[in-house]
Symmetry: C2
Subunit: 136 residues, 2 copies
DNA sequence: TTCGTTGTTTATAATTATTCTAAAGAAGAT
DNA sequence: ATCTTCTTTAGAATAATTATAAACAACGAA
């Protein structure tokens, strides 16, 4: 459980003004025990449900992008009509249940080390992500 | 080099009527030595350039989806505003050059075996794909 | 070959996620 | 307080994709 005050500090430290909207979004995103996978739309609806206050869709987009840029959210590479984000920004992988359209975390240990044996001159590796699609 | 006749047969065998448009699309997609990564828009423009004949955008969508369903194309899981497809439907992985927005193949041997140590009851693994993002 | 059926193409409209815009409002600094 | 800068917001704009429905083309049977 993170207090509102801690979110305010975190925002200030990131040079993001601690507005009511951003704090609400923090509560929804980061006051959780488990990692959270979501789309902008999921989040938009959850904010209303969980905080009772409405935040405009544009602000949800703005804030998610700001948090992503600051490294507080991770974008999950998956083909879907909507973009998925993850509150778990550590290096890890995913199952994607194609039927249910649901993401499940895979710990790094669940996948084991991945050795990339090829390199491209002038480029370095930024991330290595595994997506395991599941079917029935 | 695959002949037009071979494409016609392949289409018939898949219970897809061999129309002029589909044959043109086959020529652009499959008459290649190297694997081909593309977006619908790439393909739409290439058809005009390479065959001199125009195919409507709707048909490009229809055909790509039909080919994907038949397993002749693979969708590459990547977050982009456009969906990427691959003519290489074998099990393999990708580099994605974030700056240039370009995909590069990674052979299975370049990545090595990936052991998924976790399982979800009632679900089986459909595919395992690695995306390696590259930066400068 | 002709005809009826069914599948396909097409222009265009509709949908949907996302981004842009510009004005009003709130936070921070002086 | 006041001024500046950042943020929020509704709504418009954009862009990829999907749906629609009419014209057309391929197929199979007679």
């Amino acid at each position: 459980m993170t207090s509102k005050q801690e979110f305010i500090e975190k925002l200030r430290n990131s040079r993001l003004r601690p507005t009511k909207q951003r704090i609400n979004i923090c509560e929804v995103l980061f006051n959780r025990y488990k990692t959270f996978h979501f789309t902008i739309n999921d989040l938009f609806n959850l904010i209303k449900d969980k905080t009772g206050e409405k935040v405009s869709l544009a602000t949800v987009y703005n804030t998610v992008h700001a948090f992503h840029k600051k490294g507080y959210l991770k974008e999950i590479p998956i083909n879907s009509n909507q973009t998925y984000f993850d509150t778990n920004v550590t290096d890890h992988h995913h199952f994607f249940d194609v039927k249910e359209e649901k993401l499940i975390d895979l710990k790094n240990e669940d996948v084991g080390p991945i050795e990339i044996q090829k390199s491209i001159p002038g480029k370095k590796i930024k991330s290595v992500e595994v997506l395991v699609k599941l079917e029935d």
